[in-house]
Point group: C2
Chain length 343, copies 2
Amino acid sequence: MNLEEDLTLPPRQAIDWVDGKVRFIDQRLLPAKLKIVETDDWHVIARAIKGLSLRGAPLIGVAAALGVAVTAVKYRNSRLQKKLLSAIDGLYATRPTAANLFWALDRMKEIVVQTPDDEDLVEAVVKEALDILEDDRRRCLAIGEAGNALISETARILTICNTGFLATGGEGTALSVVYRAHEAGKGVHVWICETRPLLQGARLTAWELKNAGISFTLLVDSAAAGLIAAGKVDICIIGADRIAKNGDTANKIGSYPLALACRMHNIPFYVAAPESTIDRECPDGSKIIIEERSPDEVTGFGSKKVAPDDTPAWNPAFDVVPADYITGIITENGVLEAPYMFE
Amino acid sequence: MNLEEDLTLPPRQAIDWVDGKVRFIDQRLLPAKLKIVETDDWHVIARAIKGLSLRGAPLIGVAAALGVAVTAVKYRNSRLQKKLLSAIDGLYATRPTAANLFWALDRMKEIVVQTPDDEDLVEAVVKEALDILEDDRRRCLAIGEAGNALISETARILTICNTGFLATGGEGTALSVVYRAHEAGKGVHVWICETRPLLQGARLTAWELKNAGISFTLLVDSAAAGLIAAGKVDICIIGADRIAKNGDTANKIGSYPLALACRMHNIPFYVAAPESTIDRECPDGSKIIIEERSPDEVTGFGSKKVAPDDTPAWNPAFDVVPADYITGIITENGVLEAPYMFE
């Protein structure tokens, strides 16, 4: 019997800290299988981030911080500072776009370089990582509450990718708004874009909403514009991987065409994200590095090949929604409106 | 040994009439397998149209006409008129959106009702069907030549779905333009939207262009807007399933968001289609019946289930591009420009 099958996590939680180890859901296998992994090795976490077993900008940040923390516990007596800096470097290099990853690792790095290399360092590092986790949970709740004020009793909400508990340390960003609205007794309906190429909408968001008993319908990404044109959407809410100083927002590929269609049909278009997603060093969207992933994700599906052999494919993971298209940014500090000038 | 493996078709031809039978490529199996089917049974053709073994608006029209013709040959001595009308009815009912299907069947029906029920009827019906096939071949060439005048020496052309020889009786509509430009020695590059849910772009267009030695890159549908915003597209050309009197055009789901992005970034957006695609009875796009297909096409990927069990999905096969977004309609009679007022 595989011991891992006995591992559990609390409801609506994608990651946790359990006795000096990190426990997380391997999201590649959902919804077919709920596999929970436990590790004390930051390499396992780095690989999970790279391979999208752990994904969602806020969750990546939390997972990276906890990856540093397990390293502290594991090597508590042996040249710890050097080991921690090496773990931080390795985790930095996993994915280039999500601001939260760098934000969390910068916080961890500051603790590591400022604390003497002794038993206190272990405690300080673990405390900082758990603070980041707890902090993210609180931020998710606050985002959900702030966003819920925008949701009508019968709102039909369009979203893309997964922005729920599988994307954060807490209960999500855009989907936290949906959870709060549902809990408030509103009869919301969610239109989920399937989110090619990796289908986080079809696999993860559908799974979360089904489990929560929230009404939803799945559609292919390219059907969203026709849906909006048909008057079937009241509000669109997406997450964010990086928000530039002027409000330009990098998010899952397909976000920009949703914004275009919402603009054309006067549908409010919101971004929901913790302030850790804002990159104040980045003046605007043109400066955001967009991760380009393997062509295999486009030419095939899982292990199934679709396109002819040797088909070249362009596979950007994100696109940029200009600030001008964003009705408001829902953060843990309320709903911010244009013009955005993050200091 | 399966005799079917010996069947062949001429290069760049998806369908043909061979000794009183119809021979066609089963497109569901491409690009993994090139299977050619031969039949004298209109039910086989109707099922092939319904199941998308035969697809592409002009090809559906041609196939339906040939389906009536095989029926005439097969039942030449037995109450033929009634059998033919029943075949026509059955073929009418396969798919609701493609105008060419109804156009071709209307032509066949007229012959059937106007010709006495004797040997002449067989000949007349076969002749009409072969005329429709030949006619489509000529139209495809003329569309390609008219469109080629719009293509620069180094054009980067964006397209969706399959509009090549697999979509017509000839060498295609939008893709006929690409073939003609390539033959004229232009160094064109084609950006192919994969075209969820059934991936006609990834499976069929990539296969055609690879075989023709034409440079191309595949992308997920939702990446097209970012591609256009990045200045990497010079012209967008799509096919059409039905064009209303005012020029509003129903085409593969995802066409409308391409038009929105082209408009936003001042990229010319063309529709390429034979005039048989124009429905002069239909005043505008709001009156076009949009086929909604099975949710299974969205909740799974081929035979692989993706979304959780019982996930509801909305699966429209087409959307409508308003005439206002269309720079021109490339037909066998040249490039028509707005305002469109088809009489």
